[in-house]
Symmetry: C2
Subunit: 211 residues, 2 copies
Amino acid sequence: MTKIRLVLVDDHALFRRGLLSLLEEMPEFEVLGEAGNGKDAVPLVESTAPDVVLLDINMPVMDGLQALAAIRKQRPSQKVIMLTISQNDDDLISAIVAGASGYILKNTEPEALRHTIAQVFAGNSVLSPEVTAKVLQAVRRSQSDKSRGLLSEREVEVLKCLARGQTTSQIAGALFISENTVKTHIRHILEKMEVNNRAEAVARAAQLELL
Amino acid sequence: MTKIRLVLVDDHALFRRGLLSLLEEMPEFEVLGEAGNGKDAVPLVESTAPDVVLLDINMPVMDGLQALAAIRKQRPSQKVIMLTISQNDDDLISAIVAGASGYILKNTEPEALRHTIAQVFAGNSVLSPEVTAKVLQAVRRSQSDKSRGLLSEREVEVLKCLARGQTTSQIAGALFISENTVKTHIRHILEKMEVNNRAEAVARAAQLELL
DNA sequence: CAAGCGGGTGATTTCGCAATCACCCGCTTG
DNA sequence: CAAGCGGGTGATTGCGAAATCACCCGCTTG
């Protein structure tokens, strides 16, 4: 069996050596090299071309996020797992945006780490359960942001009326505007929500909970 | 030890029964009830108040996403794990937005399912590695979308010049505008990126790769 | 101390979008 | 067939953001 070739990057020599012996006990892994900071890591990855890089964030000289960006710039398909103690939201999101395939905490069990590396090697991504919740929150926020800015205030009001099953003339009466104006608002709503009729608009609005 | 109380929702009776016997073999779980569609699931969850709900997406009468929304509306803190074969992006994102704490595929190993339920019960979130990559892609897209719309075209041009280390007067010459205009653009860039000086702006721009 | 640079404030024009209304078309239904 | 409704096109006004420039302040440096 071809071994999964790794590079370890962490500024704590003790942790790095412990991790090294741990991984070498697992027959499917082969550690090609180690680095104690980002500046050393970039050329090391360049020259050894490992399957997966295990990368710490908090490091002197060049931190893990900068190193990640540099590595991914040189080798865009390089798989990198962030292995860190940081549960900081900015670190997490930055690492994802910079192209990390995994983000796991240092308190992870050896077996889980083994599983993570195998999954990443197979082309999948893995997050520690503790940080997954943060990522899901970020997704929720970004989706609601996207929905918020989409429609103007007035258009949302019209949409609410539509959802109550009101007709054009009823909406016009309720909002003290002409039927023509209501129709124009609905037109814009349909365009922005990329739907073809009132019913579809109401269905998607209910689904997105933007009422 | 207090058992983790579950409710299973899946329209395939065979799968549901198999899952039931599997979970009952694990001493830490207790299955309070089952449902074959979303319409039955909502009142069942309401009455039994389980710790965690395992919910399929593809179901007749009321699909899992609608059921998830209904359940979370009645019991906002209810923990729900989507257990499905769907790797569809829309299903995945919809489930997350609707408040799912987990999204795992039906080909998951029993031990991994056991682990997932325990993590969700503990307040964390879990995704199957196969879908984690999709979520990370969604995060990347939403972050770049956020960055795109943030700065105007002209402001991006100025920022590019800044990143090359050009001074105010050099930028003014390059873009055929006055120094004052350049300064105003930079002012707006600093405001929008929430940074305090040019260097910070360049650093974050490089990090976000919006050059 | 004066020139150059980074940074802050005010003022202008222009352009796009929001909000409004009028008018037109095609379908159903009594 | 005419009245009502959903849907489409054009036109107006007003506000806010983008883009432009002028002027002011404080620091460094020769």
